[in-house]
Subunit: 359 residues, 2 copies
DNA sequence: CAGGCCGTTGAATCAGACA
DNA sequence: GTGTCTGATTCAACGGCCT
């Protein structure tokens, strides 16, 4: 039996390389396969600059069928090297994640969770034709329905202010100092994943000293975080330029020796923004309801889309409040009130009610 | 051709009922199909044979296979009744949503967004062996890649405090007064969806008066909200007890009669088109007038036929604007300005004046 | 040095009417 | 169906530069 090559980047096609590794030898697999984006033409921002899209050859497939075959092949190779107690993570978007999920289920993998990475700072939708695509999805699976797997429940709970860690993870995309640049100052890899994401993945589903395999290593976030967190790792990557980037990055990574240092505390969240429209959606105010200003000088009607309309103006609660008064600005939350029998309730009371629910 | 039955609950198997409806007749479909594979898989076996408790590989696959067949069948029937400009929403969890997504893509539906409903108050994970499953996923698809579909961008933006609506929607699950109870005080339907969810779905992707179909009506949230928001609706449900619940609920729902309250603001795209030449014809700009770009970098002269001419280019306001900047495109209305004594007025002001006259 | 302004950028399936 | 032309459209974070 071949020995498992540890803490190395193996160059080559991940399917072939995985086939050459001993079976049932790794504890966890994190995979960020090509998403098969199927982009056509180029996209310009409102300021006429061009969006730097992922148009690399490695993301091009002839058809869904070709993509499905590719998916089944690499998943089969991954399944072979995974220990019976191991788990696999796969990240993707709506372009590919359903294909991946179906393949995983068909092969006998057991979905433990689908985790949603909610991006705090996604790219907006420039043409206004869809909802802003603001998340990606990760599937976390054990090898079989009855497999014993690792889940560090307490560590996750501690990471989340002593509440159970949920299936939605809110994190920024990778940019700023963390984003690796090449000599020209351009991004070294088009889809570098944030370290915080891998930190949580590794901490949740592996023990220190276990072996983590990333078959699509790319810029090496998985390996770097595995090294930092005291896990052994194996990376597979086909392209020399990415291997160089990852090698340098991993070499610069300093392992954490202090166990306690691993526990981050989550930063205090800001008070969540409550759009006025939420009150309408939740039925606290029905469309057509009439709001009044202090002393009932002005009235405005609530519309289904969360705008309000007065005799002469329409727009947000703030805009209309300012307009009727002829003021430069207005806090609509405290200005507009819902008339009741005797008195009137500022609409801010409803906002406070929603905020209270969130805690 | 059969007439479309409107604002009714049709009793029966949704596949058969949809096959009996006229083709290309509904504007939007919202579907909440059953998704407990292990328990319901047997229900959809073609030969009606009962399956014993399933835990071996073969049965698991058989169950997925049966579910896939069921999914393809009802989606095919749904596709038939959907107008070419229509869209379909399907909600599910990781148990079934990958099967549904794959089927949708294979049938030619084009995924516009996957929307994540992030629950503020999910059921906790009691055993502490996984992350708290705190979300569900909705797929929103047009009928084809090139289909023209309805998306009320401005309404969604207004609902979200003038920021683009994102693909993650944070809302509580349906409980409290909204949750319908039966005579015993038990919940009348196991998976009643919150009204806020359907409010946003309907407002985003339908116009008032359009027809919405829900093939798995259940407790009737879709129909009730469609009625409230001035949309026509068709519900299909197999079980008498749910039909009773839904009927009572829908009857009690009071439509918003105020048209203004459910009408979203007209997007600029739909405003009447004003040719630039009209400004010249009306004498708002005389031939020979010189227009300037921002910061007066470029100038162009207005000609009698509504074209303009710069030092090196001639053509429409948009073409010349793009050409002088070397940009792929340009909105000439906001780019070109008429110089006045101290400042300059964008020519769009003249267009707005003409549009105002039209009202 | 703090703070404001401006330019840049991120896995993107990103227009629609009319001839 | 295809080609042509109008003209609508962005959020958060970071870094550099200026006051």
């Amino acid at each position: 039996m071949k020995k498992l090559p540890e803490n190395q980047i193996l160059k080559g096609d991940c399917i072939e390389v995985m086939r050459s590794l001993p079976e049932e030898s790794v504890d966890m697999i994190f995979a960020d396969p090509p998403y098969n984006l199927q982009l056509s033409g180029s996209l310009y921002r409102p300021n006429n600059s061009k969006v730097d899209a992922v148009d690399d050859e490695w993301d091009k497939f002839d058809s869904f069928d070709a993509y499905d075959r590719f998916t089944r092949d690499w998943l089969a190779a991954a399944r072979r090297v995974l220990k019976p107690s191991g788990t696999i993570w796969v990240i993707g978007s709506y372009h590919n994640i359903f294909r991946v999920g179906t393949a995983l289920q068909n092969m006998g993998f057991w979905v433990l969770n689908d985790i949603v990475w909610v991006k705090t700072n996604p790219m907006p939708n420039f043409k206004g034709r869809r909802f802003t695509n603001a998340h990606e999805t990760m599937l976390w699976c054990s090898k079989d329905q009855d497999a014993r797997y690792t889940f560090n429940y307490e560590a996750m709970k501690a990471l989340n202010d002593d509440l159970q860690m949920r299936s939605d993870w809110t994190m920024p995309i990778c940019n700023g100092g963390e984003r690796i640049k090449d000599d020209n100052g351009d991004k070294a890899h088009p889809t570098q994943k944030p370290e915080a994401l891998l930190h949580r993945v590794l901490l949740s589903s592996t023990e220190p000293g276990q072996v983590v395999l990333d078959p699509f290593l790319g810029s090496g976030t998985t390996a770097a975080m595995a090294k930092r967190l005291g896990r052994r790792w194996i990376g597979i990557e086909r392209e020399d330029k990415y291997i160089e980037v990852a090698k340098r990055r991993i070499a610069a990574e300093v392992p954490v020796t202090d166990r306690e240092a691993i526990q981050h505390t989550t930063p205090k969240r800001k008070e969540p923004r409550i759009p006025f429209g939420l009150l309408v959606e939740r039925g606290m105010l029905t469309p057509g309801t009439v709001l009044v200003s202090p002393c009932k000088r002005f009235t405005a009607k609530v519309r289904a889309d969360g705008t309000i309309i007065s005799a002469e103006h329409r727009g947000s609660i703030h805009q209309v409040g300012a307009a009727v008064q002829g003021a430069p600005s207005c806090n609509g939350w405290t200005y507009w009130q819902l008339p009741t029998d005797r008195t009137a309730v500022p609409i801010d009371a409803f906002r406070q009610k929603i905020r209270a629910e969130l805690h």
